[in-house]
């Protein structure tokens, strides 16, 4: 993390933090998109064997072909669920956590330095107002963007 040794560095860091915020919002949307098929495949992996078992318990049970197809779909669903979780969702979560932590760190530093930098560089009221507004778009701590 770079030093905030003046107004220019402060504004550069603020722009970088805003980029991170945009990345985090995109990651949140992506995580939601991945979560839906993962939950659907997990549901299939559980429901199909349950239905087959129920059918077997209450009557003659499904035919051999139906049983094979059903179990194949269940296994494929389980595999898809595991693949989505391990290969897509977890890496996304890890990246999200890293980006969020870095962004919060940077923004908290800027919150602490804002008054000092604005006074030292004699920022105009309009610039101060604009920076205040931009800082107000960030959360205090991690978790609220999830």
């Amino acid at each position: 993390m770079g030093a905030i040794d003046g107004g220019a560095a402060f504004l550069r860091m603020l722009t970088a933090a805003e980029r991170r915020l945009a990345v985090l919002r995109a990651l949140t949307a992506r995580r939601r998109r991945v979560r839906r098929p993962r939950i659907a495949s997990a549901a299939l992996a559980v429901l199909i064997p349950a239905v087959l078992a129920l059918a077997a318990a209450t009557g003659d049970g499904p035919g051999g072909v139906l049983l094979a197809v059903g179990l194949s779909i269940a296994v494929l669903s389980l595999a898809a669920c595991a693949a989505l979780l391990l290969l897509v969702e977890r890496p996304l979560n890890r990246r999200f956590a890293v980006e969020e932590h870095a962004m919060i760190e940077e923004v908290n530093r800027m919150r602490e330095l804002f008054t000092h930098v604005a006074e030292r560089d004699r920022w105009e009221e309009r610039l101060k107002g604009s920076v205040r507004e931009r800082l107000s778009r960030f959360p205090v701590e991690g978790g609220s963007l999830r």
Partner: protein
């Protein structure tokens, strides 16, 4: 007729006298806030810079903490409480919202919900701490150290001055917004609570003169803002010392740590006086 600020100073001195003289504690007939769900009657907002002790102050008034309790933590979100203020047999309901001190989405949401447009608290408790704010992150602590080192000396007074400038800038926003009618349009009173006074009880006169307007040429920026508020509005204003609990404070890593100069009984007396002041302000408003 005595000047409003002379009265404020007298009130401050009477609290100091009660504390120094082992005045009334928080136990008998004390005015305290008690948590209770119910109809919200008197909306109150607690404002102030990050690390000034807003949440701890609220907890102290509700007696949710005792003076010797452990360390506090930064509040990540808006805190809303429905409470009953008790003083003897009198009870007053209050809806208290602690507004986050950091510029953030949470702060904007809290301001929007409690102070903007038609929403307005009847009273504001503005918490300050004479530059004894806590900086939560190590990165920010390093930045403050580096910035002060670039300007000269890094000592307790320099850090205190750093926070006082931030505190005045934060208060300016509040005062300007109230005077311009952008915030809290139905506000009736504002109390400046000088918290953490147990850390600087031996310098209480300096803190008093910093916060309470006095001779115009020697006023601090904060006191000048308070005077503006008095000149431009009809708010009832008050400034009181307070300490929520026994604490240890270190301005920055590497600087000497300060410890509490008061004991439990004295802190109890401070709580009592603040609670009574709040009760009086709320009750007077209701009787207007």
């Amino acid at each position: 007729m005595p000047d409003v600020w002379e009265n404020t100073r007298s009130r401050w001195e009477s609290v100091r006298h009660a504390v120094d003289g082992g005045g009334p504690g928080a136990a008998v007939g004390a005015a305290t806030l008690h948590g209770r769900l119910g109809l919200s009657v008197n909306p109150i907002a607690v404002t102030g810079e990050a690390g000034a002790g807003k949440s701890v102050l609220y907890d102290a008034l509700t007696q949710a903490i005792r003076t010797g309790d452990g360390d506090s933590s930064r509040s990540p979100d808006i805190e809303k409480h429905a409470t009953v203020l008790r003083s003897g047999s009198r009870r007053t309901r209050a809806a208290v919202t602690v507004i986050p001190g950091q510029l953030s989405t949470q702060r904007e949401r809290a301001l929007h919900d409690t102070m903007r447009g038609a929403a307005s608290p009847q009273g504001i408790v503005h918490v300050v701490c004479w530059g004894h704010n806590r900086i939560w992150q190590r990165g920010a602590q390093r930045d403050v150290h580096d910035a002060l080192a670039a300007d000269g000396v890094v000592d307790q007074e320099a850090v205190r001055d750093w926070h006082l400038r931030k505190e005045a800038a934060d208060f300016r926003l509040l005062v300007d917004a109230i005077i311009d009618g952008q915030l809290a349009t139905r506000l009736r009173w504002l109390v400046v609570v000088v918290s953490k006074t147990d850390l600087f009880w031996d310098r209480l006169d300096e803190a008093r003169d910093h916060y309470i307007p006095g001779p115009p040429r020697r006023e601090s920026p904060f006191a000048a803002l308070l005077r503006d508020l008095e000149n431009e509005t009809s708010l009832r204003l008050s400034v009181l010392p307070m300490a929520s609990r026994l604490i240890r404070h270190q301005f920055l890593p590497g600087l000497p740590a300060g410890t509490s100069q008061l004991d439990d009984t004295q802190i109890g007396a401070l709580r009592t006086h603040l609670g009574q002041e709040l009760q009086t302000l709320i009750t007077q408003r209701n009787e207007d």
